[in-house]
Amino acid sequence: MALLEVSQLDVRFALRQGEVRALRDVNFTLERGERLGIVGESGAGKSVAAFSLLNLIAKPGFIAGGSIKFEGQTLNTMSERGLRKIRGNRISMIFQDPMMTLNPVLSIGEQMVECLKAHRRISTKEARAIALDKLQQVQIPSPETRLDQYPHELSGGMRQRIIIAIALLLDPDIIIADEPTTALDVTIQAEIMALLLELCEQHNVGLILITHDLGVVSQVTQRMLVMYAGRVIEQGLTREIINDPQHPYTQGLINALPQMATPGEKLNQIRGSMPSLSNLPSGCAFHPRCDFINRADGQPRPACTQQVPEFVESGNCRVACHMVAEMLEDRRLKEETQ
């Protein structure tokens, strides 16, 4: 049994204009100590996915179907009381903006002690000792003084280190990190990512990394999901997807990176932009931007505009694309006739 098992997750937002399906058909598992990346552009639903794992979706959003199983317990039907034992304790989160996550009127030490005492029956003194140990693990200079400082006295990189220390406080099994380095500079980003990676390996903690940065995902994670307009469109081993993306959107996303083009040449752009979730195109949500909606013979493929693509297995990856499905089908037929 996997540590975390998400199947057929379906999240909707009940808006005045009608129901919006923010997330559908999300399936994945996470083993202990494994690192999974969720990649997508803004509006793809990657943060909704992260929040729904801990049932943190606020109204008008709700989990309409599917299940999230952590060590066999179903999180999405669990009581608030039960969830509180898991949130922060077994599964902790790191958010994008460290200033928003830290309480500005409490010192770093108070926040860490508060968190420890909420989950464990220990004295303040013991809690402070644990807090100090975690601050040392995230390599903060003079951790002793930091305990009595307030968040505004620290720099962005330092704050994110504190957040990581807090996420590790209760020795969780999984850390969900939602764009943990987006607000930081490149050199600080590299340091924080290296630190996070090191700590996850050292403590055998599972990591779900949500980001728009393909470079970070390829360096940190073992498996990845690519999301587009509320659906997973490709998932599998990170290395395979980066080296040989199957879905036209993943291909476009990778090829659009400046590092993939010859300097000075035109970049390979994807035309158009991501559709709004309340007004999704029919069929495959990517078809208005896709260059492969025609068959090899130049005829349009009707399925692309009419049918939502199902997942097909292509090697070790799963891809939701009619074109890929057709190619695999052709190959299978050819092999059969031979």
């Binding site: 552009e41 330092m158 393909l214 980066i242 590092q259 000075g264 752009q269």
Partner: protein, 353 residues
């Protein structure tokens, strides 16, 4: 005629450079006061009333030349002063010290009336297209405004023609004219902002992080648009960014800034092939690349110091693995290397690196 050529050849490289450069920045310094007005500056110290002033030293002596037709990229991390350079060049901020020359003419001390003809020749694109478009103006009005200001003699037809023309050149649907900024996505808004900058046919564009607020697939679209515009109109760019991957693709030359000073200036190819300054090396190694598994990035210790109390000597010495006693005391200046790269580093100068 021949005598003129002679003197040109005899002249030091500085003049040679300036003859072809469109923009020259010389000894630029900019300080921002943190202490408020006069009364707020008064403090009691040892029984006496003293005036206490604090400054953010945003730029500390920057020298740069931008040649006609090139894209000079200024890179650095937040707080290094790159945006301040852009704004000072545009005349949106007045420099504390130093000179800015545009096409040979000093522009930093001009009144706004005198600056008007230069404003037509140099335009700016801002980072956040959600904030840089007036929410109460339609796209048509947004694009007409600079034309009306800079061409008061043009009649209505001519202005409308020009707006149509510029909309076409950046790929904006003419139907968008009646709509407002909030109806568009980030990428579309940035397209409109670019159209507004191009409307008055400038020759020089300052782009301050024009693609940082956009999604990856949209970044490529906007970057392509900027490159097309450069080719079609022979534009010169001052391109401010923190993203080195973009620089490698877009820039002709790169200036790396750290804490208000330029630490290395080189052609893009040279900088990426052979970074000299320890900070540039660290910065390059920190780019998350797609196709290496275990990157060997140079880990810098500590963080960027505050620009309020600048470190003595080289501003980078606190984080530099090669710093010695000299670096703590003496401020390095940009030294030209064999291949034309200019580096401000004692270690490079002494051959320690």
């Amino acid at each position: 005629m021949s005598a003129q050529v002679e003197t040109r050849h005899a002249a030091p490289t500085q003049n040679e450079e300036s003859s072809e450069s469109l923009l020259q920045i010389r000894g630029l310094k900019k300080r921002f006061s943190l202490s408020g007005d006069f009364l707020e500056q008064l403090r009691f110290k040892g029984g006496k009333l003293v005036r206490h002033q604090e400054h953010v030293h945003a730029i500390n002596g920057v020298n740069l030349d931008i040649k006609r037709g090139e894209a000079l990229c200024v890179v650095g991390e937040s707080g290094c002063g790159k945006s301040t350079v852009a704004r000072t060049v545009m005349g949106l901020l007045t420099p504390t010290e130093g000179e800015i020359r545009y096409d040979g003419q000093r522009i930093d001390n001009l009144s706004s009336r005198q600056l008007l003809p230069y404003r037509k020749r140099m335009q700016m694109i801002f980072q956040n297209p959600y904030a840089s478009l007036n929410p109460r103006m339609t796209i048509q009005q947004t694009l007409e405004e600079p034309l009306r200001l800079h061409h008061p003699d043009w009649n209505r037809e001519k202005i409308l023609d020009k707006v149509q023309d510029v909309m076409g050149s950046v790929g904006i649907d003419p139907d968008w004219g009646k709509r407002f900024g909030h109806e568009f996505s980030g990428g579309q808004r940035q397209r409109i902002a670019i159209a507004r900058a191009l409307a008055v046919d400038p020759e020089f564009i300052v782009a301050d992080e024009p693609i940082s607020a956009l999604d990856v697939s949209i970044q490529a679209q906007v970057l392509n648009l900027l490159m097309e515009a450069q080719q079609a109109r022979n534009l010169t760019y001052l391109f401010i960014t923190h993203d080195l991957a973009v620089v490698e693709h877009f820039g002709t030359r790169v200036a790396v800034m750290y804490l208000g000073t330029v630490c290395e200036v080189a052609t893009t190819a040279t900088l990426f092939a052979k970074p000299r300054h320890p900070y540039t090396q660290a910065l390059l190694s920190a780019i998350p690349r797609l196709k290496d598994d275990r990157p060997q990035h140079i880990r810098l210790t500590g963080e960027v110091p505050t620009p309020v109390n600048l470190p003595s000597g080289c501003v980078f010495h606190g984080r530099c693995p090669y710093a010695n006693a000299r670096c703590h005391q003496e401020i390095p200046t940009l030294q030209t290397q064999d291949d034309g790269t200019r580096v401000a580093c004692h270690a490079v100068e002494e051959g320690r690196l």
